[in-house]
């Protein structure tokens, strides 16, 4: 019932949810039940890659919510992703126990290496999964709350906001690179052994993580959809287009932005938390400004303010990245740069926009007419042409 209300008039969302459902069913079957020599077997590498993409898609969804619907171009969303990742990483670090290189049950390896005597206070509690999960949500949410409160209250908007969000992620990157911060410095946290008692590299764990990511993405999609179809969502859209009009309608614009920003940050953080156990490492590189901006391109390529477009963008750009970096490693940055330029210049609505235009054209027959015109110019006979 609720599902029906959320997904009516949302063809893309329906397709997305069906696909996610398929992932949740097929991945365990194809990886665990189908024998390895069968052509239908899905290798664990592919499962992990898929899981990674799903996390990226969740991150892109978070950005689309705040950028596409509210017009806030955050160039610091990777910061929240990274923070969520670190919170999860800290839990996984504590799970290593005495299986580290130095065999110290109390301290992670890098602390032993730095001659630290005891666990810093902010690491306490991270041996409990529930605590870590709480922190995944709480810390980035709080940071987004404080940052957003300050920024929105003083009406920092547009490009200025983008620049200071980028400054935020740079500050975090520099901070996490410090050894004295106690997060492993530039090497970050790695060498994880197990999660919730399950060995982290086992096939079944990988499959479970991938399914969890798909589930989370589906859930997040529905939540975002619920938000944007509510009156709150319309207000957010309104303030994107005419902020002072919204204010003069009696809305405290700052609060509307702030809650959306916090929610988006929390989604990004959850994506980070799911991402870390799948790739097995988290380091300050995740806070690199480039990451945040690359994320913007996923959303721009997919199509802003559609939600499912962001997911499509995350998958297509990342697939292209995986493929290109293995085939022509040099070409990737060229391609990414060109993508930025082309999408902003020629495809302001992204892939979703292209698909919509094509469908529109087919519906009113203009595609066929254009095709015929093109064909007749080159002397190709078509079916519809009368001699």
């Amino acid at each position: 019932m609720l599902l029906q209300r959320l997904l009516s008039h949302d063809r893309g969302g329906q397709i997305l949810l069906v696909l996610l459902l398929a992932v949740m069913v097929l991945v365990p079957v194809l990886n665990l039940a189908v024998p390895a020599d069968s052509p239908f077997h899905l290798s664990t590498t592919t499962v992990t890659l898929l899981g990674k993409y799903l996390c990226y898609a969740l991150l892109a969804l978070a950005l689309d919510l705040i950028w596409g619907y509210c017009g806030i171009l955050s160039l610091g969303h990777a910061a929240f992703f990274g923070l969520g990742g670190y919170a999860m990483g800290m839990y996984l670090m504590r799970q290593i126990g005495d299986r580290g290189v130095y065999g110290n049950a109390e301290l992670p390896d890098f602390m032993v290496f730095l001659n630290w005597q005891e666990l810093p206070w902010y690491w306490l509690g991270f041996d409990q999964f529930w605590f870590a999960a709480l922190m995944v949500v709480l810390v980035p949410g709080l940071l987004a709350g404080i940052f957003g409160y300050l920024a929105f209250r003083s009406r920092v908007t547009g490009v200025y906001l983008s620049i200071i969000t980028q400054a935020l992620t740079v500050a975090l990157m520099l901070a996490f690179e410090l050894n004295s911060m106690g997060f492993g410095g530039t090497n970050g946290l790695t060498d994880f052994k197990e999660i919730l008692g399950a060995p982290i590299t086992a096939d079944s764990t990988r499959v479970a993580l991938c399914v969890a990511s798909a589930l989370m993405l589906a859930l997040a999609y529905l939540l975002c959809r619920a938000i944007v179809t509510s009156r709150y969502g319309r207000i957010v859209l309104a303030l994107r287009d005419a902020e002072s009009r919204t204010r003069f309608c009696g809305y405290k614009v700052e609060h509307f932005k702030l809650w959306l920003f916090v929610f988006s940050a929390v989604l990004a953080a959850i994506a980070g938390a799911l991402y870390v156990p799948q790739v097995g490492i988290i380091n300050p590189g995740e806070f690199k400004p480039l990451n945040s901006i690359e994320l913007v391109v996923w959303v721009a390529v997919g199509g802003r303010a559609t939600l499912y477009g962001a997911v499509a963008g995350a998958f297509s750009v990342n697939y292209a990245k995986t493929w290109l970096t293995s085939v022509y490693p040099e070409a990737w940055l060229f391609a990414l740069g060109a993508l930025f330029v082309l999408v902003t210049l020629f495809l302001p609505k992204g892939l979703v926009g292209v698909v919509a235009t094509l469908r529109q054209a087919r519906a009113d027959g203009s595609l066929q007419r254009n095709w015929q015109r093109l064909a007749s110019r080159f002397g190709v006979p078509t079916k519809g042409e009368q001699p």
Partner: protein
Amino acid sequence: MKLLDSAREGLRRDRVFDFMLPPPNFSEDLDTRHGPILYVEDVSVSFDGFRALNNLTLYINDGELRCIIGPNGAGKTTMMDVITGRTRPDSGSVWFGQNIDLLRLSEHQIAQGGIGRKFQKPTVFEHLSVFENLELAMASDKRVWPNLWFRLTGEQRDRIDEILQLVRLTDHARRRAGALSHGQKQWLEIGMLLMQNPRVLLVDEPVAGMTFEETERTAELLTSLAGRHSVIVVEHDMAFVRSIARTVTVLHQGSVLAEGSMDAVQNDPRVIEVYLGE
């Protein structure tokens, strides 16, 4: 020096930080026993040495339709900015009725409290439908949480339909507001204002870019609103002002130059000088 001043300003005992104030209580009736609903007293605003408003004093009566005219740069828009909380004056006071100090409130509080404003350039939510535009403007709980669960009641739907009819946009209710003509956008914005149930309407150049017929309709609409609402109209179109005005205020260089009926004002030698030049 500036730092010292701002520190002193921050430590003033007679001011309270915005966030410490109790929320304004609009449920108690606005006290307009003395007649005026809006008191603008000795208000001065300057930008970089340029005095946009210079000890402006103005009283608007409850239910009155007031036209404000004046040459460019006379401070008309700045005056509206001050009343709606967009610009903080350097000195002076602005009271809504006798019991609400507008200078202590922020824009959204003022809007919720019953002062609606139409911008010079028509500003509507272009990506939303006409219906949705009116729905968002409607007087209701404007906090975040209730809006997540908001459902239109039949009563509210009727109210929207009523306004749609009033501003003649019933046929366009499902269209995107961005696709409306200029004149229709002006009306939609007036409609949005009315959805807020305001006590005071500030209307900045309502007939700019309208056809003759539309202008006439607008004049009719605004006059019909007076009485139930106080309406302040800023306009350049003299014919339009003449057609609706009862009292006209002339602003010049940030203060009131003349006030009275249209005829009296038009024959005032000072006004003639300002408008026709030396």
